[in-house]
Every structure is written in C-alpha cells, then in structure tokens.
C-alpha cells in the first residue's frame, strides 16, 4: 500500500488544516473546533497548537492576519492558502488509507454505512 510513517503528516497539523477548511479562525477557535470535531477524544496540547500554527504559516500552508472578533477584540486569524488546501486533501486521503490498513491488520472491519 506504500504508506510509511514518515509520509504521514503530523496529526496535529492535519487537524489544524482541517479545522480551517471552512474559513479563517483565530487560534482559540481552532482549538475549540478541534475539540468539538474529535468529540473530545483527541485533546490538543494548547501549548503545541501555536508553534504548529506558526510553522504552517512559515511553510506557506496558512496565512495569518490580524482582525477583529465578533466581540470586537483584536485577534490573529489564520486562513488556508491554496497550497494548504491541497495538502489537506492529500493528507486526508492518505490517512484514510492508512487507517483502513491498520484496521484490516487488527481484524477490525468497519461495516459499510456505519462509522
């Protein structure tokens, strides 16, 4: 199947990219979105979130800019760049294949239509 661990993007990175897929968010909103989407199963180390955001920005996957929140407070918003969106799509697909492979190895089959 050809996946080795090195090709898998960091889980946190992937979750951050995914959290931003519907539009720009600030850091706090990103961490809330991740918590909500993983239904609490994956708790993000908040200390790790910001370095991840800044690294993704450095790599050109995110673009940051200062803006106003609904409550009119200054906050830094992050937006997926085109490059970031492409990366998200590719990594998601790879993750899915990887998960399937691991499930098969462990004898866990996911019945179609569920999960």
């Amino acid at each position: 199947m050809g996946i080795d661990a090195d090709t898998l993007y960091g889980t946190l990175n992937l979750l951050v990219l995914r959290a931003l897929r519907d539009g720009p968010l600030h850091g706090l909103a990103v961490s809330r979105r991740i918590e909500a989407e993983t239904r609490g199963t994956l708790r993000v180390e908040e200390g790790a979130l910001y370095p991840a955001l800044h690294r993704l920005e450095r790599d050109g996957l995110l673009e940051g800019s200062w803006g106003r929140t609904d409550g009119n407070r200054r906050a830094k918003f992050y937006r997926l760049t085109r490059k970031g969106r492409r990366r998200l799509e590719r990594e998601s697909a790879q993750w899915a294949r990887h998960a399937e492979a691991v499930a098969a190895v462990l004898g866990l089959t996911t019945p179609p239509g569920r999960g």
């Binding site: 600030h26 850091g27 706090l28 961490s31 180390e45 908040e46 200390g47 790790a48 910001y50 370095p51 955001l53 800044h54 690294r55 920005e57 450095r58 407070r73 200054r74 906050a75 830094k76």
Partner: protein
C-alpha cells in the same frame, strides 16, 4: 506574539469562569494546561523569523520578475527601438567574442603540457648572418646536457617526412618527428598505449620503432587497440609500433603523425650541421632569463673550443608557448583592440539612444516618484531594463560569435590555425558574459544618473523634458569620441591596406602565374641516399624521367625539380672562394639544388653568363649559378663569372652564370646571397622533392596528369602538397591580408556607426530645440542662420572628433609599425584621406537635421508642443 497568546488565555479563562470557576482558579487551570509559555513563545518567534526571511527574498525576486516583465512589455511596445538596441549590442558582443576566441585560442590558452611555462626552446643565432631561431647541432646539444644547470632536462626533436608503404593501399607520406627518448618526460607526456622509447632504441643501428600520434592512430589505424607490436614499413624499413601518444597531442606541430628515435650519440654527433631543435624543461627556480644567461655562457665557451663550427654562434632561449607567436601577438592584440573600439562606438550609439529615450521618459520617472515609489524601486525598474537588454544581447551575441568564429577560421591564414584553434570554450563564453555584464550594469545605471531629483521635479512641474539641454554636452563629447575612434580604425585599416598593396607590388623575382607546384618523396629503401660522388644513380634516373614525362604532357610549357620552391627559405652552407683566404665573417650562402630547367620554369631572369644546362652532369665540370645578391656581395669587382667556389668537400665549382634575385624569406625580405647547383651534380638525401610545372592552361587542371606521370615511373612514390605558386605567394601575405580584411570590416562598421551617432545627436538636438529655433526665426533669424547653427554644431563635433582621432592614431602608430611594409606608420597621404573623407561624411550627416531645422514653421512651434 504575546498578544495572540494572551487572547487565547483570556478566552479560555472566560470559558471556565462562565462555567462557574473562580477567576483565580480558572487562570491557574488554563496556564497549567497550556504548558511552558516561554518555550511556546520562543518557538513561534523562531518560525516567524524564518517566514519573514523567506518572504523578503521572495518579494525581492517577485519584484525583479515584475520589473523584468514590465521591461519586456516596454520592449514589445517599442519593437523598433528595442530591436536596434539589442541588435547593435549583439553584433558588438558577437564580434568582440569572436575575435577574443582567436586571441584566446592562439595566445592565451596554455599549451597542453604540465607546467608549460617551464618549457623552452634553445635556439642558436648567427651573428654573421643576423639569423635567430636556428636549430642546433647534435654535438652542441650533448655539450648543453653536460653543462646546463638551468634546465633539469633537455630533449631533441627534428621534423621531417617519411613514407609509409602498405601492401594493399596507396603509399602515405607522413609528417614525422625524430626525437630523443626523454622527450616524453621533458614535455611531461605519457602514452595512452604501449610505452615510450628506450635508450637502446636511440643508438645508431637500433631497431626500427615508432610512436603514433593519437590523430594518426585514429586516422590510419582506426584506433585499433592492438596496434602496439604491429610492424609496418616506413621508408622501406620494417618498423614496430611501440606506443600511441596521449590524446590530442601533436608535437612539435599540429599534424605530426609519428615519432621515431633520433639515434644520436655523443660519439657520432656532428657539430657542422644544424638540424636538431633543443627542447628543455627549466629546473625549479630557473627562469627563461637565467637560462638565457647560462646558455649564452655555454655557447661562448663552445665558440672558443670549436671555432671551426661555432664562430659567431650564440644561444637564444625562447619560452615554448612563445614559439611562432611572437610576431602574431601584435597582430592579434591590434585586432582585438580594433573590435573593442567598434564595440565602444556601438555602445555610445546605444547610450545615446537610451539617453534620448530616457529624456522623453522623464515624466514616467516623475509620475512613479509622485505615486510614492521609493528611489530604490525606480532604480530597480530601470536596472531591470538594462539587465534585460544586456541578457538578450549577450545571448544573441554568443550565437553571432559562433558564426563569427567560423568566418574568422575560414579567413585566417594556416600559419595561425596551426598554433591553436579558436572555439567557443568556457574562457570565451566567460569573456562574452563579462562584456555583457559591464554593458548591463552601465545601461542599468544610465537612466538613474540621468534622472536625479532635480530633473524629476522639473519634469513634473512643466511636463516637459528637463534633461535635454542639460546633458547635451556629454552626448556631443561622446559622439566626438566615437568619431575619433573611427578615425583611428580607419587610419589603421588604411595603413594595412597600403601594406597589402606594397606586398602585391613586390617583384618576387620569379613568375608565379600558371605555375603548378607538387611534391613527392622518394622511399629511401630503393633510392639510397649516398653522400659520396657519384653514387646516386637511381635518384638521377627517377628525376630525369619525371621531368621528361611531365614536360611532354599537353598544356605543359616546362617542368623542373628543386629541393626548395621559391619563397621557401631552405638551408645555407658555408663556402670558400678559390684563391682567397677563408673569411669566417662572410656568413653562409643559401644553397638551392635544382634541375637545369628550374630558371625558365620559375621565370627567373638571367643577368650574366648562362643558366645551368644538361652539360652540367657527372661528366661535366661542377658548375654553379649565383644570384645577383651573391655576385654583388662576394664579387664586387664583377669577376664572379669564371671564379670557383668550394663547398661540400674538396671540389670547387665554377660560376657559370648570375641570375636575378628570387625572394626566399617571404615577400618582405630581400633575397639572401644564393647559389644554385644542378641536381645532376649533387648528392640528394631522399626526402621531399618539389616539382614545378609551368603551364599554358589553368595549372590545377593538370594535377591528375602530373600525378599519373610520377606514379607511372614508381607507384610507391606519394605525390602531395598540390598547389600553385600564385597561391603560395598569396599565402606569404596571408597574415597581412587577414589583418587588413578584418580591420577593414571593423573600420567600415565604425564609420557607419559614428556617422549614425552624429546624425542622431543632431536630429535629436533639432527635435528638442524646435521651440528655440522657432523663437530665433520669429526674432528675425533666416533659414540660412538656422542651417548654419546646426551645421556649425555638427562641424564642432566633427572637428573635435577628427582631432581626437589624429592624436590617437599618432600616439598608437608605434603599435602598428611592426605590421607594416612599404608604408610609414604616419603616412601623411592616408591620414589626409581619412580625415578629409570622414570629415566630409560627418558634415553630410548634418545635412538632414539641418534641412529639418530650416523647415520648422516658427508659428506652429511657438504655439506649443
């Protein structure tokens, strides 16, 4: 950064407070969950710094790309202008690069040996005859080896020809070099196959062995890897091939096919005959100068020890890389200087064009500035234009240079190409890039220099070019400089053309028209070379048969044999005159061995007595004929005829005739004293014989017949070097022809460009000062006054330019002196013609702008622009 994290912390605290936590408890909880705040902040700052660094770089690149795209758009908007600029520069760069490739290939490229600067030739010179660069005698060589400290090793090489006979193919005449076994180590060469010669193989009577050059191995043996050990027949002797030299090495000259051992030992070495070239590798620490001093001492000692052979002989040590190049160097540097001058003229024209357009673009600058562009950004925009122009011209120039190199190679004399082939290698490409870079930087800076702040504001205020009048003096001086360079080039070309004319007017002393020249070589095996009288019957029979056979061909007027054709310097012999004491300071005489028909065939006229004829054979009294120079110098009382001269052993030969001087050392040198003896009365050592055929039809149409006539006598005799004497004469002035042709082309281009420059500046002047002209005319100036003003401006520029040119040409005339013949380097006629002609042309270039100025309508020009 801190603000971002603070926002996060505050948000989380509010969440917890909303869930009922105390403010204090919530803060502790959040901070605890967050982890090491300092570390997080440090990491984030690090990533930010990296991002900013990368973005700055990308902005710069993006900015340049944008400016280059902008410049490209600008060029497309103005295709005519851009094409002129790029084409002018491309031609300039191409021409410079092509000429540089010749200089690089012949002068600058190092010889293909390790540490080539330590290799030198030890020539001999002769104070009596004034000759330099003579070969040494083998005995002198062995004394050098014994006494030298300046050279770590000395070797010998002597060029000649051999004949390779093959059972199933035509005989091949090969260019061979006889060498000492140590020559490979002197030169630092290795063999790619087999081995070098052993000392035993160098002994007289040693085995027949040969080392092939790489070229010969590929051409004749199809790069056969098993060639070593094969036995071939060379000059009739079985010869074993023991090695193949390194790739691409042909020594001592391009086209050398093989090496054989020179077979000289101190015991049997002669001191009388000078036929070996001494090649040495300098010891560590020794220089050419120190080697020269040492060899001069050694030769002085040898002169004392062997006065019979070494009187008047000295040493001349020349770096191997200079051999054959010392005369060419000047020609090539002059050509490179000339092409750089043409390029400079082209650059001035382009600069003038850019300045003119730049003035028109003053508004563009002003607008950019007013819109808030920083000076740096404005500069970058124009720098991008300059670099784009330079890049395009460079690419086109290199393509043109490739063609130029082919053209130059086709025009260049053979003597030049033997020394090194011009090609587009890295050094030449580097030169092209360097020239383009200088041009690019220059043109990138030009607009910025032109538009300084003052000009910017002025342009914006009144919407007109603030530059024009301000910078005109600079442009006029540039154009005058252009004219000056054109004058220098034109004078140089004129002097070289005069040289060529003088050369063509030289009477060589023989008639080269309708004279075919071919060479053949007699294999030594069947034509033994005996030095003893009169044992060379086989050779004489062959010679007679060839002359008779060729003479009877239809279309042939006469045929003759000689060992050295006209314009071939040949060799000299010492001699004594019967009844006089031997005079060691009399020098030597050039000796020519010819068949009796030589004089009538070559068209050499009789001055007194008779030509050699068939009486002068083995049964007759030994006879010689002198040239007029020999008779004048050695028999000033007119008593040459009937006197007797001795050379080669005890016999004296009677002088039976005196003939006109035939030039031997090129066209420019007077004929040296020369004596002619009949081949029928002289020993002939195999080797190459030249056959001259005077024809009634175009000479080359008879080549096949002549070749058949020779091979019908002996099919193993190869015929080669087929040419005409007319071509030989042309070749003798090939370097001058090449230099004057190339310089002539450059001079024409220079004049054209300079005249365009004059015209361009004046036309621009008229365009810019139309309003002023209008005012003057409105104030009562006549059209005549206006024309006078414009022509006056032109005359001023032309006068300045011509003066600069004459001063330049006079101060550079010393450089040309060595290249000229029959023309003084300050020939007033040529100077006057160039100045007059160019002055007239420059004035004509003012006519069009002047006419346009005279046509200006004062009313409309005053109403506004």
């Amino acid at each position: 950064m801190r603000e971002e994290l603070e926002f996060h912390i505050e948000g989380r605290i509010r969440e917890l407070v909303d869930q009922g936590w105390s403010e204090q408890g919530a803060r502790e909880q959040v901070l605890d969950r967050f982890g090491d705040m300092e570390e997080v902040e440090r990491l984030c700052r690090e990533y930010d710094a990296q991002r900013i660094e990368r973005d700055t770089w990308r902005w710069t690149v993006d900015g340049w790309m944008r400016d280059v795209r902008y410049a490209l758009r600008g060029m497309r908007r103005n295709p005519g202008f851009s094409a002129v600029v790029v084409a002018t520069l491309a031609i300039g760069i191409g021409a410079c690069t092509a000429v540089f490739s010749v200089v690089e290939g012949i002068i600058l490229r190092p010889l293909p040996f390790p540490e080539p600067e330590r290799l030198a030739v030890v020539w001999q010179d002769d104070r009596a005859t004034g000759t330099v660069r003579e070969d040494a005698s083998p005995a002198d060589y062995f004394d050098y080896v014994e006494r030298t400290r300046a050279f770590s090793e000395l070797g010998l090489v002597a060029s000649g020809t051999v004949v390779l006979t093959r059972p199933d193919a035509e005989p091949l005449r090969l260019s061979a070099a006889a060498v000492t076994p140590n020559l490979t180590s002197v030169l630092g060469l290795s063999v790619q196959l087999g081995r070098a010669f052993t000392p035993e193989e160098n002994l007289p009577g040693g085995p027949g062995v040969a080392i092939l050059s790489d070229g010969m191995w590929r051409r004749t043996f199809g790069a056969d890897p098993t060639v070593v050990g094969k036995v071939v027949t060379i000059d009739g002797e079985p010869t074993e091939i023991v090695g193949v030299l390194e790739t691409a090495i042909e020594f001592p000259s391009k086209g050398t096919d093989l090496w054989t051992p020179i077979r000289q030992t101190p015991a049997g070495a002669t001191r009388q005959s000078h036929w070996v070239r001494v090649i040495g590798r300098l010891s560590p620490g020794a220089t050419v100068a120190s080697a020269q001093a040492e060899m001069t001492r050694i030769m002085a000692a040898l002169e004392r020890e062997h006065p019979e052979a070494n009187t008047n002989r000295g040493a001349f040590v020349e770096r191997l890389s200079d051999v054959g190049r010392s005369d060419l160097r000047r020609t090539l540097w002059v050509l490179l200087g000339a092409v750089l001058a043409v390029f400079l003229i082209a650059c001035v024209n382009v600069a003038n064009l850019l300045l003119a357009r730049g003035a028109a673009r003053a508004r563009e600058f002003a607008v950019l500035g007013a819109l808030g562009a920083r000076p740096g950004q404005v500069r970058r925009r124009f720098a991008a234009e300059g670099l784009l122009v330079a890049g395009l011209s460079c690419a086109a120039g290199i393509a043109l240079a490739a063609g130029g190199i082919r053209a130059l190679t086709a025009m260049a004399p053979a003597e030049l190409l033997v020394l090194g082939e011009p090609r587009l290698d890295t050094a030449v490409l580097g030169f092209a890039l360097a020239v383009a870079a200088v041009v690019g930087v220059g043109f990138a800076l030009l607009p910025t220099l032109q538009h300084r702040d003052r000009a910017l504001q002025g342009a914006l205020r009144d919407g007109r070019s603030a530059d024009a009048s301000m910078r005109m003096p600079v442009r006029r001086v540039l154009v005058a400089g252009q004219l000056g360079l054109a004058v220098v080039l034109l004078i140089a070309a004129g002097l070289l053309a005069g040289t060529l004319r003088s050369l063509q007017a030289v009477d060589p002393g023989f008639r080269p028209d309708n004279l075919l020249r071919v060479s053949f070589a007699l294999p030594a095996s069947r034509y033994p070379a005996m030095d003893t009288w009169p044992d060379w019957q086989e050779i004489h029979q062959f010679n007679r048969a060839v002359v008779d056979g060729v003479s009877s061909l239809p279309g042939v007027r006469s045929a003759a044999l000689t060992l050295n054709h006209p314009l071939d310097p040949g060799w000299t012999n010492s001699f004594r005159i019967e009844g006089r004491p031997f005079d060691p300071d009399q020098g030597e005489m050039t000796t020519r061995l010819v068949s009796p028909s030589y004089f009538t065939t070559a068209g050499i006229e009789l001055v007194a007595g008779r030509f050699l004829d068939d009486r002068d054979d083995l049964d007759g009294e030994p006879a010689i004929v002198l040239n007029r120079e020999a008779a004048r110098r050695y028999f000033p009382d007119g008593d040459a005829l009937g006197s007797r001269i001795g050379f080669w052993g005890p016999n004296f030969r009677r002088i039976v005739g005196v003939v006109e001087n035939e030039r031997l050392h090129g066209l420019t040198a007077d004929a040296p004293p020369t004596m002619y003896a009949s081949l029928a009365q002289a020993p002939q050592r195999g080797g190459t014989v030249t056959l001259l055929v005077a024809t009634e039809v175009p000479p080359l149409s008879l080549v096949d017949g002549v070749r058949r006539a020779v091979t019908s006598i002996d099919r193993d005799v190869p015929v080669f070097d087929v040419t005409t004497m007319a071509a030989t004469v042309r070749e003798a002035s090939a370097r001058e022809r090449f230099a004057s042709l190339v310089l002539g082309i450059f001079a024409c281009v220079a004049v054209l460009l300079a005249v365009l420059g004059v015209h361009g500046v004046l036309a621009y002047l008229v365009a810019q000062r139309g309003r002023e002209v209008g005012v003057r005319m409105a104030l009562g100036a006549t059209r005549r006054d206006v024309v006078r003003m414009i022509v006056g401006q032109g005359a001023l520029m032309a006068g300045l330019g011509l003066t600069l040119g004459i001063v330049g040409a006079l101060s550079l005339s010393g450089l040309l002196r060595g290249l000229l013949f029959g023309v003084s380097s300050t020939d007033p006629g040529i100077y006057a013609a160039v100045v007059g002609g160019l002055g007239l042309v420059a004035l004509m270039a003012t006519a069009l702008p002047a006419a346009r100025a005279a046509g200006i309508d004062p009313a409309s020009s005053l109403r506004g622009e």
